[in-house]
């Protein structure tokens, strides 16, 4: 105990609080709660901390920003546009940048934090996906996470539009065009959202209230649920010696996590401030105020919207002789906008929502899971994850096609043709390659568990044979390589199977059939018996473990 805060004083203060709020129960439950450690667990923390930075910096900005589209003559500090007609939103953003000390810094902190917030969400989501952290009992928290990701995009886009500069105004123009393309109700929706024709005078005040109130409130509520469920379920952990499905191994909140996680908040905040200090972002004075007539080359949205913009760029207006926009009975179907602008993002969200239940249906596995999967041990899931990322990146790349074309001296049309092809073939290739890599890594794990690691020491036997000495793994190292179970396969039911049952069995086989079984004690025993007196056998059995072995456990291994 420190000298200033004596036991007695602590007790008095704690007693005062406890008498009024019953804090002792809370402290007893949570202060020594154990959290497991892994570097990838900090991705979720980055999401939370950048959100806090967004709340702090955003509040600062609202003290000066005026969400009005009323036109005014700019007479501020930035000489090149003095005398131009601009909206009050744009004028107040310029004043905030030029006349408030630290105002530009705060704007840049807010913008960088927003970009980092969405990036961290994506990375966190990818981590959850490839490690299987969405499995029972955490499926509902996965859904909360998907909702948070969508809200983060909404927060980003509504904020992006507020300065009313040329770039963001054209972003809104694109949104209005996409809304107009919706059959039957599109035109009405556009008029209701914009309060009349584009751009009208209502859209920025409306986006503002969504950006500073509705969306942050929803984000806060869902973050509360997200973290509440995290505490309820307790954090998952990677498998390892001493770590099981029924325990949590790690450090207590007080003092280690309080210091580490609390400190990490300051690190994230500090890095964002340093980025904002040194790297200019969104210099709206260069873009100028919004005007429906001018535009600049290289118009890109913020990175998280790139995929929608890229999809819009990839979709052709004609598929050979077939138009993708056509009329029936005098009404227009704009599939060239609807498919990339609404259907593709909609299907992506649907896939994210459905995945945990699809996988559970295919594995028939209804047990609780508290141990993470090593991504390599789930080759199909990891492959699907990487395929999804590649799909996303192809579309994002398409939204930068003009910049890529000018920087690398490629024809923009050729670049678009290549990306159109990659849109379809990129994900399957990524899936196949990733799955092969995972199986290769699993094979290596198996090899290592059976024979130990190479020492580089070559020994010549009395018979003149050479072999390399392998050093066996200790039990702790080995456990990491042999702990995983095989997946459950849903077999085709006996007798007459329905179409759905057949589909389920086929898909289940596609998901779980290819794997390399973990080494069992019997196999290790056999391999060691083999090694005695004959070193070469070490190389021999690599190929014996065929990919695609059905069933599970020790039946799959052969050839010793």
């Amino acid at each position: 105990m420190s000298s200033i805060l004596t036991d007695k004083r602590t007790a008095t203060l704690a007693g005062y609080v406890d008498d009024r709020v019953g804090a002792s129960k809370i402290v007893k439950t949570f202060a020594r709660k154990i959290f497991p450690d892994h570097w990838s667990f900090m991705l979720g923390e980055v999401c939370l901390y950048t959100f806090v930075v967004l709340l702090i910096s955003g509040t600062f900005l609202t003290f000066w920003y005026d969400p009005s589209m009323a036109l005014t003559r700019y007479e501020g500090s930035y000489a090149p546009i003095v005398g131009q007609t601009v909206s009050k939103a744009y004028e107040s953003t310029l004043n905030l940048s030029f006349d408030v000390r630290g105002g530009l810094l705060m704007r840049q902190i807010h913008h960088w934090a927003a970009l980092l917030f969405v990036a961290a969400i994506l990375a966190h989501m990818a981590r959850i996906f490839v490690t299987g952290a969405f499995r029972k009992p955490r499926e509902l928290n996965w859904l909360v996470g998907v909702a948070l990701a969508i809200l983060a995009l909404a927060a980003g886009f509504t904020g992006y539009s507020l300065p009313d500069d040329l770039l963001s105004g054209n972003g809104l123009r694109i949104i209005s065009g996409v809304i107009q393309a919706i059959p039957v109700v599109g035109t009405y929706m556009a008029f209701f959202i914009f309060g009349g024709e584009f751009p009208g005078e209502m859209i920025i005040p409306r986006l503002f209230i969504m950006h500073v109130m509705l969306i942050p409130a929803a984000l806060l509520a869902l973050i509360g649920i997200h973290l509440g469920l995290l505490v309820l379920h307790k954090h998952m952990q990677f498998p390892g010696p001493g770590r099981t499905n029924t325990n949590v191994v790690g450090y207590p909140v007080l003092p280690v996590y309080a210091a580490k996680a609390g400190g990490f908040f300051f690190i994230v905040f500090g890095v964002v401030v340093l980025m904002a200090a040194t790297v200019t972002i969104n210099p709206i004075w260069n873009y100028g105020p919004y005007d429906p007539s001018p535009i600049s080359a290289g118009t890109q949205p913020d990175w998280y919207i790139l995929f929608v913009d890229g999809a819009l760029r990839l979709m052709p207006g004609w598929l050979g002789p077939i138009p993708t926009e056509f009329s029936t009975f005098g009404y227009v179907w704009s599939l060239n906008i609807l498919l990339p602008g609404a259907v593709v993002p909609g299907l992506m969200i649907l896939a994210l929502i459905a995945y945990p239940w699809v996988e559970q249906w295919l594995s028939g596995d209804t047990r609780e899971h508290h141990l993470l999967d090593r991504p390599r041990n789930k080759p199909t899931r990891t492959g699907l994850g990487v395929a999804a990322l590649v799909f996303y990146v192809v579309m994002a790349l398409a939204a930068t096609n003009d910049l890529v074309a000018t920087h690398f001296h490629i024809s923009i049309n050729d670049m678009t043709y290549v990306l159109r092809a990659l849109f379809f073939v990129g994900p399957p290739i990524a899936f196949w390659v990733t799955k092969r890599i995972c199986l290769g890594l699993q094979r290596r794990d198996r090899e290592l568990a059976l024979h130990g690691r190479e020492t580089g020491r070559i020994v010549r036997t009395a018979d003149g044979e050479y072999f390399e000495v392998h050093e066996p793994l200790d039990v702790y190292e080995r456990w990491n390589l042999v702990q995983h179970e095989d997946d459950l396969l849903v077999p085709l039911p006996q007798g007459k199977a329905s179409g759905l049952e057949k589909l389920r069995a086929r898909m289940s086989a596609f998901f779980f059939e290819d794997h390399i079984a973990a080494v069992t004690p019997a196999e290790l025993e056999a391999a060691h018996g083999h090694d005695e007196g004959h070193g070469q056998a070490i190389e021999g059995d690599t190929d014996a473990h065929a990919v695609g072995a059905v069933g599970r456990g020790s039946e799959t291994s052969h050839g010793h």
Partner: protein, 360 residues
Amino acid sequence: MKDSPTTGHNDAGPSHGGTGTDLAAPEGTALENRFANPGLPAHRFRTTDTDPKAARNAERQVSTIFLLSFIGTVVFLVGYFALPIEDDKSLGRLQLSTLVLGLGLGFAIFCIGIGLVHWAKTLMPDHEQVELRHDIRGTDEDRRDATNIILDGVEESGVMRRTVIRNSLIAALGILPIPAVVLFRDLGPLPGTVLRESLWEEGVRLTRDPDGTPIRAADVTFGSVFHVIPEGLAESSHPIEEKAKAAVLLIRIQPEDVKPIESGMINQADWSYGGIYAYSKICTHVGCPVALYEQQTHHLLCPCHQSTFDLTQHCKVIFGPAKRPLPQLPITVDSEGYLVASAGFPVPPGPSYWERGVSE
């Protein structure tokens, strides 16, 4: 099952920790076929645990880092008062101010974080501890009790017996959301026909964007491009909305470069004046301005999604997501030699929408 209190670490090695039974391969595969979880490995001590000198060093490092944070805040404050931006309105001064404030504040915040983490990693206990999980589900007894409470509640409310009340409540609740939807109707006016209309009509002069000065046909040299708005745009009640429909590009090319009108197209033969063509500047895809003109090929390009329109083929789409050609504005000259529209746009300018009609 109650959450057991945290067990402290014990260095006994393999016997500690889980037994691995929960990881038994399911269904049929006997436990003995798998390895058992060896339990937590023995704890390794850090040099700061064993060497008091190392611990003192770490202590000094942590406090030095916190001191750096202190200095960072001082830098921020000095920068705030020493670099006023009111006197010097240059962009350079603004950037310097932003840099100094940001570096000061950034290091002030960053160093607190680094210091805390370094403290936790070097000096706070690093013994891993084990906590047991408990079932997420309630016990069977809890479940039974909960179900009974709900059933009792439903029974006491009488909602199942008093069907008239129940059904009328369902009807009332069912219709209640409609006012919420109806209220949103007043968010905006109905579209009507405004998307078809623009300020262009017979006799409206073509003027330069943004100053609104009229353009003489004689001023338009071969290969030149004018950004055009209708005369009187600034005086209209909603100049920005009107501009979003009425913006026009004016280009003069050699008439022989333009391909003849194909059958099936609107007869646009007399819509140009001496090789001067006027086309809507608003992309027929989602409405970005088509502002890039390639003089050599006479292609117009929208920088948002790369829809490419060929001026020599009456602005037909030759690449990208747009499907319809840019609408052409019929033009002629008035008695004073100024360019004027000879009619409005023959089709609605701008992006497609459901009621737009024929998508030519």
